[in-house]
Assembly symmetry: C2
Homo-oligomer: 171 residues x 2
DNA sequence: CCTGAATCATTTGTACGGCAAACGATGTTT
DNA sequence: AAACATCGTTTGCCGTACAAATGATTCAGG
């Protein structure tokens, strides 16, 4: 009946799907974590501090895809709220290791629970088992992409727009 | 061995996964579509114009999650490049229907091919069959979320941070 | 040991994009 | 006909990202 159904259009649009999902995720999480210094940003930082070794600011910035300069403000506020502490790395006194505080761990646990809830509702349109599948697939893909970040660069094909504007204007 | 492996941390972080994937998608697509007036934005607009009926600017803005005012600039440039045309809706002369031009369709086809290529590489970390699964799951979830956008609002739980900062300072 | 290059974190300044409000034009309701 | 709502455009403001300069520290080489 319809030459191209809407679903057909979006079917292929991974970029659009990701944008929509991330946007809604961000909206809801931002609302739920309004009390946390930088909302979702702060949450991501707290999450990243519970690895085996406290990350440096640079490492943190790289993982969270934000600029080093932004990380400074972020940590300033998180530290002021007693959620993390900056500790000078004894082996490289230029670097500051970001350690989560006891209070930070408590807050993180609460935040994580809220975020989980948001995410469940976000994927509410998917049948339960497909939800878990999607989550793990997204995680796998993201980790792989993050690891291979610099590799994929080698300049790919680029759109060549034949200047057709004038011709159309004339016609 | 490690108390909490990195994978463990990210496993649960749907937000982080989406952010990473979307970021990389955006970077690559932006590079590939540098010639297109607003890069990925312009691409999304072109994609959205090939439905059964040409969308209005407002509808377009809503679907693409951008402000109406931004859409104006976007369409100005796309129209200048002869990729789309604004046509006054005869049934509602306030509204402008955004129609793709012949030239626009050619460019869109090229762009789509490039974007597909980017997306395949983006999901390169996933086994082939999981790729297709992920794409369709993302699409389904996004469409569902987009449709239920206003519904989910009813104020959810919110983080309560017990002001522990002073106490810690004192201690 | 001393010097120069490199890295980490911070600061400063600039530019871009989103968001809100105001406006004119058109459509809808009473 | 009048009041109100909607669409698109314009304007202005603000927050954020990004680039560059700075100070502290480490590393490499003579």
């Amino acid at each position: 009946m319809s030459p191209t159904t809407p679903a057909d259009v979006f079917d292929h649009n991974l970029g659009w799907s990701l944008a929509v999902l991330l946007r809604r995720w961000h909206e809801h999480v931002e609302r739920a974590l309004a009390e946390l210094p930088h909302g979702s940003r702060g949450y991501h930082v707290l999450c990243a501090t519970i690895g085996s070794e406290p990350p440096t600011q640079a490492g943190l910035a790289e993982r969270l895809l934000i600029d080093r300069s932004v990380m400074t403000y972020l940590l300033d506020d998180l530290e002021a709220a007693d959620l993390v502490r900056r500790r000078v790395d004894p082996r490289d006194r230029r670097a500051r290791r970001v350690c989560i505080t006891d209070h930070g761990q408590v807050v993180l646990a609460q935040a994580r629970s809220l975020v989980d809830h948001v995410e469940e509702r976000l994927l509410g349109g998917l049948p339960p088992q497909q939800r878990a599948l999607f989550r793990s697939a997204a995680s796998d893909a993201a980790i792989a992409v993050q690891r291979a970040a610099p590799d994929i660069d080698p300049c790919e094909a680029v759109l060549q727009v034949t200047g057709r504007a004038e011709e159309a204007e004339a016609g």
